[in-house]
């Protein structure tokens, strides 16, 4: 997979419509996978925290939908006095956008749905990839562990 592919997609999303301040991609446990911002130096925020809260809200709402048997959750829109937060499901993750208050909601919805479909595929591929440790490295690690255990036994 191309490095920084998620950041590139998020940056393209931010550039596609005025009023988008920040885009964050998180997994369902709240871990931030990637993020992009239009004015990062002007709006210093805790991206990890925002992403974790957005993911928690989304997963919570999803659970409510399951309990009420009204199907899968597609999007959560939180409207504030000075901005809006959009969250949409994308495969095993959640895409979160922070925007200005007077943004075109219809356009943001459309852009998010398109981007979520693209990100969903990549994210599933990214999360299903297994990291294999080379055999030599494994042997070295085992030897180090054995040496450490011997040292402990001698004590």
């Amino acid at each position: 997979m191309e490095p920084n592919v998620f950041e590139k997609i998020l940056t393209r999303l931010i550039k596609s419509e005025s009023g988008i301040r920040r885009a964050i991609l998180v997994d369902r446990t709240g871990l931030t996978i990637a993020h992009a911002s239009k004015f990062s130096s002007y709006y210093p925020i805790d991206v990890e925290g925002i992403g974790a809260i957005a993911s928690a809200i989304f997963v919570g709402s999803e659970e409510q939908g399951k309990n009420l048997d009204i199907g899968d959750l597609q999007m959560v829109i939180s409207e504030f006095e000075n901005g809006k937060i959009f969250a949409i499901s994308c495969g095993q993750g959640v895409l979160c956008l922070i925007t200005d208050p007077d943004v075109n909601i219809g356009m943001i919805r459309l852009l998010m749905k398109r981007t979520a479909a693209e990100l969903g595929k990549l994210l599933d591929e990214f999360l299903s990839a297994t990291v294999s440790i080379p055999v030599e490295e494994k042997k070295e690690e085992e030897e180090e562990l054995k040496a450490a255990l011997d040292a402990l036994e001698q004590l």
Binding site: E17, V103, N104, I105, G106, M107, R109, L110
Partner: protein, 94 residues
């Protein structure tokens, strides 16, 4: 505010006019209110019509400050008419 029935009758009357393929009523935020198109087409037309109107208003404000009341888009396969009043936008494809 207009009632649901009145809006439906307006849409039906517009739909009966010669060459009209469909009508969408949306908010200026691009959220569809009523439509004669399928949901996916409605979503696209609403978003782009509201966005286009917003851009046109911005441009007109920069050059003179007049009020934008109507936009006509001529295409090779027909035309798109967009009109706005207060917080609603109507888009007609014909």
């Amino acid at each position: 505010m207009l009632s649901e029935d009145v809006i439906k009758s307006i849409l039906e009357n517009l739909g009966k006019m010669e060459g009209v393929k469909g009508v969408v009523i949306t908010t200026t935020e691009g959220i569809p209110v009523h439509s004669t198109f399928p949901p996916d087409v409605t979503e696209k037309i609403s978003a782009f019509a509201a966005s286009l109107l917003g851009k046109a208003k911005e441009m007109i404000k920069e050059v003179g400050g007049a009020k934008v009341t109507f936009i006509t888009l001529d295409t090779s396969e027909g035309e798109l008419l967009i009109s706005s009043e207060q917080e609603y936008v109507i888009a007609i494809l014909r």
